[in-house]
Symmetry: C2
Subunit: 458 residues, 2 copies
């Protein structure tokens, strides 16, 4: 390993130059005019991987091509195989006027590299490539086979990825997937994200009279769908922040004492968080910390309300209908279909006979968890500690990362989320940046990771 570490140290300046080259491609997947830039960026990646010594090719898809790059001499099942996932497409840079320097002309200030895609995700996936370069260029034997999968449609929903995984199922059969595309709370807190919330979307529509009614002529003798909707929604959450849908918490895997202790180690205060959100007071399920509430507890969230008149002034009607858009965040081991069914049943039981309740199911995604005490998770934590020289923290992510479920479904393997972006990375915002220390330590973490994972037999 000493050779690998020295190689990484010696070549940082060149690595940064190469990252800057990578970032000059305006590979904006949401904007059709950048289609050629995505292709060019993919081809640059192939050359980069071949230069490193990987067997690399671009696989065409219905959208942008996906890069596959493999360590040479794969031993086909005789030793562990890990897939490293990343994406070379980026978010749109608009609004341009808020950028302090042009989004595709990378600029270094201190240790911050400013450019669209620097944190999300070019800098993070290049860190992994540089680690394997160090192994290959120093002739240090890798204890495992590695395959890089770097796609070009992550920012527009990874539309081609599921088909790609199905088609390349055999080639991508692996022991784990490694993704660095999430965050870490501070430079002193390297992190493993071990759980994601799932989601279940639904729509409630309360139908009342056959058309909007004059509230003077009819008001008082007919139910108001907006009032019924309010009364239904009001009954879904109690004053302790608990969701009252029967069975809602039945399948929730409780947090272990170890997890709660780990989550409590995260930096940040409620008072700073409250200010950041701009609310007079925080609110959440009683008995849990803010961190637990937003990452490890399920929610019932109203995303939108629509009924009747929405313009200036007033319009004196009883609206014909009222609608709520709902998403519920789910935690391991809740099931989206089961939860939607429970919600529908509960709301139907509450609905008065004066209106008709329509419920529509939307998309669902399973929650995800890798036991933080599992050999793979523990190996990842050791790699983080070696690279950063700090005790890593365990994170749960409140949102969903649908591709993690795709990997589980098609490759039957768990995903280790080892994010390198700091909270001020401005991913998806103007002035996106990547910390060059994180870039360097990320390379080191990747180099250690293959040793730790393989040694753990994981």
């Amino acid at each position: 390993m000493q050779a690998v570490i020295e190689y990484l140290q010696k070549n940082q300046a060149r690595f940064v130059e190469e990252l800057i080259e990578y970032l000059r491609f305006p590979s904006v997947s949401a904007q059709p005019q950048h289609r050629k830039d995505l292709q060019a960026c993919g081809e640059w990646l192939v050359q980069q991987c071949r230069g490193i010594g990987l067997d690399a090719r671009l696989c065409p898809t219905e959208g942008n091509p996906i890069l596959i790059a493999k360590t040479p001499g794969a031993q086909g099942g005789k030793r562990p195989h890990y897939v490293v996932y990343g994406h070379y497409d980026v978010q749109p840079p608009e609004p341009f006027e808020l950028w302090k320097s042009p989004p595709f002309e990378p600029r270094i200030v201190g240790r911050a590299l400013f450019a669209r895609g620097s944190s999300d995700n070019k800098g993070q996936n290049l860190a992994h490539l540089k680690a394997v370069e160090a192994y290959l260029k120093t002739g240090t034997p890798l204890p495992c086979d590695l395959t890089f999968v770097i796609e070009g449609e992550e920012e527009v929903g990874s539309a081609s990825l599921a088909t790609f995984l199905k088609q390349h199922r055999a080639e991508l059969k692996c022991d784990a997937i490694v993704i660095s595309d999430t965050g870490m709370p501070s430079p002193k807190h390297p992190a493993l994200t071990y759980a994601l919330r799932g989601i279940a979307a639904m729509e409630l529509i309360v139908h009342g009279p056959s058309r909007d009614l004059h509230s003077g002529i009819f008001g008082g003798s007919v139910d108001n769908p907006a009032m019924v909707l309010s009364q239904l929604l009001a009954k879904v959450r109690d004053k302790n922040g608990r969701i009252t849908i029967p069975g809602f918490y039945d399948d929730v895997t409780p947090l272990s004492a170890y997890e709660r202790k780990q989550l409590a180690r995260l930096p940040g205060s409620d008072s700073a968080y409250r200010k950041f959100l701009g609310v007079p007071q925080l609110f959440g399920e009683r008995g849990f910390t803010s961190t637990e509430q937003r990452s490890a507890r399920p929610t019932f969230e109203i995303n939108g309300l629509t009924s009747g008149y929405q313009g200036e002034g007033s319009k004196t009607i009883i609206p014909a209908w009222a609608r709520a858009k709902i998403t519920m965040r789910l935690v391991p081991n809740q099931n989206p279909r089961k939860i939607i069914q429970a919600a529908r049943r509960y709301l139907a039981s509450l609905c008065p006979p004066t209106v008709r309740l329509e419920t529509k199911s939307g998309h669902g995604a399973e929650p995800y968890v890798v036991a933080p005490t599992s050999p793979q998770a523990q190996a990842a934590l050791r790699a983080l500690k070696s690279a950063f020289g700090r005790e890593p923290v365990l994170l749960r992510e409140g949102g969903s990362i649908p591709i993690v479920n795709d990997f589980k479904k098609f490759l039957h393997a768990d995903t280790l989320l080892l994010g390198l972006a700091l909270p001020d990375a401005n991913a998806h915002s103007p002035n996106e940046q990547f910390d060059l220390d994180c870039f360097e330590k990320g390379q080191l973490m990747s180099a250690y990771l293959w040793q730790e994972l393989s040694a753990a037999g994981a």
Copy 2:
């Protein structure tokens, strides 16, 4: 009176011809291109009134002119003086394609006269003019002075009327205002509308985080303004349909046994009403009939809800704010300002400290009532009975008629609402019609009314 009655009988055919002339003017006040038609219609009215024998003139306003027409030889306070109000402007006729014959080419089918403005309000105000014509042309002495005020902006909010009333306060000083611009439940149910509901409008805005938040990253640890709004609104009405705002019913004048008995005489069934509204079941304040609920009881009605995402599919946000548009219908003797204050106080007391509640007051209108046992109301009922040969019914109107409050405010006189439009009149809708029997009986009612009112010393 015999001469008056005979004169009316003999001249019906000509009266209908004159009504048709009146209806040919496309006097649509909402549409600027009809400004000249309104002027022409007003001038036609002046000629019509002069032909009858009235002293008539058009008074210019900032909008369309207002006709004043007075019986000759006014005795200035020595005998009763009544003002008859009407309007010569009409609703827009669109959509044209739904009319069976052109809206400004009057057509008679049986006893129905189809044309825009036939019921609302040209037919009704011409009925009153024809009654006074019968007095003047037969030399029958009127027991009172009469002044007709027929305006041209009723369908666009009577913007010039308040100023006009202020300016002509002395000239219009009177003992009562008579308006035929409402409805009667059936040809067998001539009606006096003796009460109107008032209104108090407000807007509630619940402010949460400083911007829409990602429901995955933050959901669970911050309150949702749409949920808070739902919970606030839900608490305003209980399961018996009672409004729970403290003090809401304090000033409500209870219905007398006489009123309830009269309201119960109205034709129509709840089951037909339910079908007409298109709802699975009616709903209203327990202990009151549908008729009472919609005309004699106050309400709290949500007119609109707006929050967060309203488009297709879902957007996983905690909305920054949620808004409800509210109007409360008020009954005698509730006060709009007092009720809005009570609502604001109650909602503020319910609002949790996790959000900021903003309440905005909108327009208000006082409720209105003329005691149905008052000499004027009883005189009107006798006139209705004589003209229609049926026991009249007493109506309360669920909506507001703001000009009635203006008359009260500027002329300090009560208004008798003696509507002649049947439920199928299609006022404001395509194929508006006026029943020619109602036209004829309306003239008779007007002729009797001046006798009855004056004899009652009212």
